[in-house]
């Protein structure tokens, strides 16, 4: 494993080079039926305020009771992030007034989070790896939703989301470029989906990120790494609630530029919360929240500390599914796949499962190619997931078997795939019904070769000078045989006939 943090991209300013430093807070909605502290349903699409209990609405005297499953999901996620599980944690109140928060406080975990330090291995675009430290993961409540466009003078409040369980995953300032930030969020999302602890649906806001961005002069980050002294880094701004990979990258690029311009003009960065506006392509200060920064946290007197049995944690650990990194390593060693192929396959659990179901006893590299290229493209075009593939893995296995047996060439296989996708039957049935069997009959190939050489004596002579000109002949023979000739035989026969 190589560490690329030292080679992060520099940004050129008017007065010299700058580096970006980022830490992310990812909010992941816990996959659960009921809310974190009430029995109201979690979900999308119900009518306004239908999924609200008196606890969620902050009625006097209502007491929270912690959802055990949400605790289990947080522990599972912590284990998936190779993090310390804290056997004793505690809930605190974060106090502020806003119409989406009926109790006037959010129940969160400031002082004693359920999960402590961990580390995530992330693949960069160039195939190298970098590590992102996890500072903590804690459980907290989501707020309700405000709707502003129903009236020019009023806001409408829907508390269906209020009280839904969130996991906040806080990273160390180990992220150095917009690309790394996106790769990190993608990796966390993949891990959560593998674990089944969050559905990762960013469109619905079930996974969103707050990005803390600061810039510093070239070399300052290294000093910070060596000493742990934050004074080497710049003042950070927090960009709230960015909910797509594209926006994460755009928001960071804009924000870094903005900060560099201020600094180069001799100004100073004010630590503040900002909002990314995708339409304008810029970040804006959230002035209304500035004065609300004094949250007056204190332990929630309605909730006792949460204590976990080691045996219970061990049991969850023993039952963890295979995690993406482990799967990547296994696919490489068990099937002899390249790192690139393995990384592409594990990006979705269903894709990796599909591959494994099709690869048994077949040429794994070939199966991987069909799964990650042809099939991936078709599914994406239809907006389908691998788990919804109309083509079962056995059909891809059969197609690859036909190639391996020399019945069809790779080129014909593409045509066969089209017919199978169109529902004409299994690959073998399509090959038989359409007469797509590869011509291995050397007599027939020899005949075609001889005819083409006889018709093009000048080109045949040219091959002696320029051996690569044989390609033209291969093409002609394939055309003459309707693409069904075995390419290896065609090559052999051509070479013999042309005296190469």
């Amino acid at each position: 494993m190589t560490d690329t943090t030292a080679t992060s991209k520099l940004i050129q300013g008017r007065t010299g080079n700058w580096e970006i430093v980022m830490g992310l807070e990812i909010h992941a909605q816990v996959a659960s039926k009921a809310k974190l502290f009430s029995g109201a349903a979690v979900g999308f699409g119900a009518g306004p305020n239908e999924q609200v209990s008196l606890v969620d609405a902050g009625f006097p005297g209502m007491l929270p009771t912690l959802n055990g499953h949400c605790v289990e999901q947080a522990v599972k996620t912590g284990l998936g992030l190779k993090a310390q599980i804290n056997r004793r944690s505690q809930f605190d109140r974060k106090n502020y007034f806003y119409p989406d928060l009926p109790t006037g406080y959010q129940i969160s975990q400031l002082y004693f989070p359920i999960v402590g330090e961990g580390v995530v291995e992330v693949e960069a675009e160039d195939g190298s790896f970098f590590n992102v430290g996890i500072e903590r993961l804690h459980l907290e409540q989501d707020a309700g939703k405000l709707i502003h466009d129903l009236s020019p003078t009023e806001s409408f409040v829907d508390l269906n989301r209020a009280g839904t369980a969130l996991m906040e995953i806080v990273s160390r300032p180990d992220i150095r470029s917009p690309e790394e930030a996106v790769a990190y969020v993608k990796k966390i999302r993949t891990i959560l989906i593998y674990l089944g602890t969050c559905d990762g649906d960013m469109e619905k806001g079930n996974l969103r990120a707050d990005v803390n961005v600061s810039v510093c002069r070239e070399g300052q980050y290294e000093k910070f790494k060596a000493t742990g002294d934050f004074s080497h880094l710049g003042t950070r701004c927090e960009i709230k609630n960015v909910n797509s990979f594209r926006f994460i990258s755009q928001a960071i690029n804009y924000e870094a530029r903005r900060q560099i311009e201020i600094l180069e003009d001799g100004g100073a960065i004010v630590q503040e919360t900002r909002l990314y506006d995708p339409t304008a392509g810029e970040t804006r200060s959230m002035r209304s929240k500035e004065e609300a920064n004094d949250y007056r946290y204190f332990p929630d007197p309605d909730l006792l500390p949460l204590e976990l049995e080691q045996a219970w944690i061990d049991e969850i650990k023993a039952n963890l599914p295979e995690l993406p990194d482990d799967k990547r390593r296994r696919l490489m060693s068990q099937y002899g796949l390249s790192q690139y192929d393995a990384v592409v396959l594990i990006s979705e659990q269903a894709k990796a499962d599909y591959f494994e179901a099709a690869a048994a006893g077949r040429d794994a590299k070939l199966v991987s190619n069909w799964v990650t290229n042809e099939l991936s493209a078709r599914l994406a075009a239809d907006g389908k997931d691998f788990s919804e593939s109309p083509l079962p893995p056995s059909q891809v296995a059969e197609l690859v078997a036909l190639i391996e047996e020399g019945v069809i060439s790779s080129r014909i296989a593409k045509e066969v795939f089209d017919h199978v996708w169109a529902g004409e039957g299994s690959p073998r049935q399509v090959v038989e019904a359409r007469g797509l069997v590869q011509v291995n009959d050397t007599g027939a190939i020899e005949k075609a070769v001889d005819e083409i050489i006889a018709a093009n004596p000048d080109k045949a002579a040219a091959v002696a000078e320029k051996p690569q000109a044989i390609g033209w002949f291969v093409g002609q023979v394939m055309k003459a045989t309707g693409g069904k000739a075995n390419p290896a035989s065609v090559n052999d026969i051509l070479k013999a006939r042309l005296g190469l």
């Binding site: 659960s32 039926k33 009921a34 009430s38 029995g39 109201a40 349903a41 009518g47 306004p48 305020n49 239908e50 999924q51 609200v52 209990s53 008196l54 606890v55 609405a57 009771t65 912690l66 959802n67 055990g68 499953h69 949400c70 605790v71 106090n95 007034f97 806003y98 119409p99 405000l146 709707i147 502003h148 129903l150 009236s151 020019p152 003078t153 009023e154 806001s155 409408f156 409040v157 829907d158 508390l159 909002l275 959230m286 209304s288 004065e291 004094d294 007056r296 332990p299 909730l303 006792l304 500390p305 949460l306 204590e307």
Partner: protein, 95 residues
Amino acid sequence: MAIDAATVRKVAHLARIKTPDDRLEPLAAELNGILSWIEQLAEVDVDGVEPMTSNVAQALRLREDAVTDGDKVTDIMANAPRSADGFFVVPKVVE
């Protein structure tokens, strides 16, 4: 810990409690009195004593992950000063 009028004003604002200016000084004096009374607790040596979180030794109770509540829009809205179509309605808040 001494509380001055400015601190009272800030805390009152954070708690959204309307406090007239002529009440700030008297409140500061009252709060300082309460705090110095509570500070007497600092005289007790609690080195090595676990913080007490409950007066009975008990574990935090957990609930099943089951939907047992909700679907009571009328109850939820019962005390809302303003509502429409199942929503609470509040003065416009915009980021």
